[in-house]
Symmetry: none
Subunit: 203 residues, 4 copies
Amino acid sequence: MAAAGSRRVPRAERERQMLDAAVATFARRGYRAASMDGIAEAAGVSKPLVYLYLNSKDELFSACIRREAAALTAAVRDAVQDGATPEVQLRSGLLGFFEHTAAHPDGWTILYSQARTVGEPFAAEVAALRAEIVDFVAALIAAACGSQEVAGYAHALVGAAESLAGWAASSPSADRSPKDLAATLMTLAWSGLATAVPPAPAS
Amino acid sequence: MAAAGSRRVPRAERERQMLDAAVATFARRGYRAASMDGIAEAAGVSKPLVYLYLNSKDELFSACIRREAAALTAAVRDAVQDGATPEVQLRSGLLGFFEHTAAHPDGWTILYSQARTVGEPFAAEVAALRAEIVDFVAALIAAACGSQEVAGYAHALVGAAESLAGWAASSPSADRSPKDLAATLMTLAWSGLATAVPPAPAS
Amino acid sequence: MAAAGSRRVPRAERERQMLDAAVATFARRGYRAASMDGIAEAAGVSKPLVYLYLNSKDELFSACIRREAAALTAAVRDAVQDGATPEVQLRSGLLGFFEHTAAHPDGWTILYSQARTVGEPFAAEVAALRAEIVDFVAALIAAACGSQEVAGYAHALVGAAESLAGWAASSPSADRSPKDLAATLMTLAWSGLATAVPPAPAS
Amino acid sequence: MAAAGSRRVPRAERERQMLDAAVATFARRGYRAASMDGIAEAAGVSKPLVYLYLNSKDELFSACIRREAAALTAAVRDAVQDGATPEVQLRSGLLGFFEHTAAHPDGWTILYSQARTVGEPFAAEVAALRAEIVDFVAALIAAACGSQEVAGYAHALVGAAESLAGWAASSPSADRSPKDLAATLMTLAWSGLATAVPPAPAS
DNA sequence: TATGAATGAGCTTTCATTCAT
DNA sequence: CATGAATGAAAGCTCATTCAT
């Protein structure tokens, strides 16, 4: 598991190696059960070096969360087609989400499962990220349907997406490609919402 | 905090006290961060007694999971009206789910957040419970719509329900009563599914 | 070194054993260089037991200081003859001091050498003890001589006593008994060298 | 805090910077608590350079002790007026001692407090220095009084001087100038309290 | 002359777990 | 039925020290 650690690596790269190892370890064992010894070994360095660069277990975990959160939001943001209709934006955003979580399962595990259970500093960080996503989805729904009572639908949609991402990760198969997942969720949601929240007055 | 532990309590009662304390502690601190000292103190008994009755931290946590899982499934099962249409069954099942999770937030936290992150023996236990629920939902969808491609929809629905339960727990307000949550989800899902998966021709 | 630790000792006695071992270890190695492992071994118990009873290295050291300070002040207080003249009180107090420091060199080392160098919580504790003694001596001098400018003399006397105690401890010999030390210091202080050691005849 | 470390400083100058930083750090934190990192940073150089010049923490501390001890003995020696009477020599030596310790409190702390508590190599070094001073004082007393039983008085005098130096350092005020301290101690020692502070009524 | 990169060893502290009563 | 006394093992963190440049 330990990377064939070539000696004398510049700091930036070493830090990346350490974060990679930490994300993998935290994802597999959880925050508390993961040991700094284990992370250092997985990174192919000695423990003091991890402390020299990342300061503490808390800060290391926080750095992992921030990196993975930034990567996930960037992936979704990049996937969304800016000028498109809300429906297309939501579909492409979901596609980006499913593609990123499939490509980075450890990062997704940290954000979705681990960070929420550790306690305040981290749970709040991740809750804020999730709230941002929920708000984004809510805005898309509101734009499409002209209703204000969309918070519940947004929360439901986000939860459904999380569940599907976990499903695909737990037992990957051909018909659970990101594209399929996005299609399933769009079908379920968009047609449901169309009936549920009838378009504004004009109709 | 410690329950007014009167001496000489019969075993069944003591075990219930311990499980109550353990569920609360595990929910608030997580499996690893919860200490047997803390649980014993919260239960109002000495630590060796916890070991005498529950044998180990692992078994104690497992007992918590089994008790809370049984309570949750019983609540849902009792809520479902047996002879009704799939739609009514699903709606009443969701109502039971939301009512139980709102009434037992610690139990829900253990099942949904903590048990999944601890590692193998427990994650599998909870995954089995969840799979059962997903299958139940899938069966209802299939019964209603006559399609076989329902696994994705079932996973999405369950995830949406989990998300709504967490939403209600995190910031309770008037318009997030179990009944409202169930209505929101039924609206989103059932109308969506109606369009997505057209009813079998015969019906 | 480890006491032949009979198993299952009541808490009060174990705590005394631990404090004995800690005082000896702190005196010989200093606060920082002393390890909790070493102290536990010297006490004939395992390290967790030391933490269970004394909580932390800081609190352990603090408990040592308090015990030794109390013992020293009690020894001096008991030695002083209450109704006597200031001179007799000072002489008997010094005798008590020299006897106690000679009988408990480790305690004296902790108070005089170690506690002052560790840093604020402890240095202040010991400084307060010393100030008390200085004030007591100052009061005796003032009572005997009717002067107010006695603080300097009191500090000098206390420092002289500390030095003599260290001298006796570092190289004990027959003519450095507590009684001799007290006599030397009383002579110096009460009569001055000029009187005590009459100048050589020729001069 | 870090000296404005201009590059390419000659070795002697750099070593002085390092010793200055080390003396200050050792005085404030103690030998064990002071870290080589902290000393290097305080000196404005990198840690390897400290090792290149001073070899190890032990040697660095030893160099500090030797420098400060040499400075103190030089200050006292220079203050003593060579041809004068023992009494004048002692008074001027004390004046030099109090002036030097007041001017170099960190150096004094290292010699008086820290070096004695660290353990053998250093304690012995400082003990030798102190023995030298005690012998010098003893010789003066013997020369003045013609007695051989002066070791106790010399130890008492040195301890009194140390105490007064610490008193002046801990709470400096107008009437604790080096000159005042020397006067107080000379009065006490040379005439004794009885003579120095004549009883109130009779006078 | 001077430093960024790196580590072996040791420290304090905590925890699950077990006897003896 | 119930507990005070006790510990092996491991975790987070720090430090003196070195090497390659």
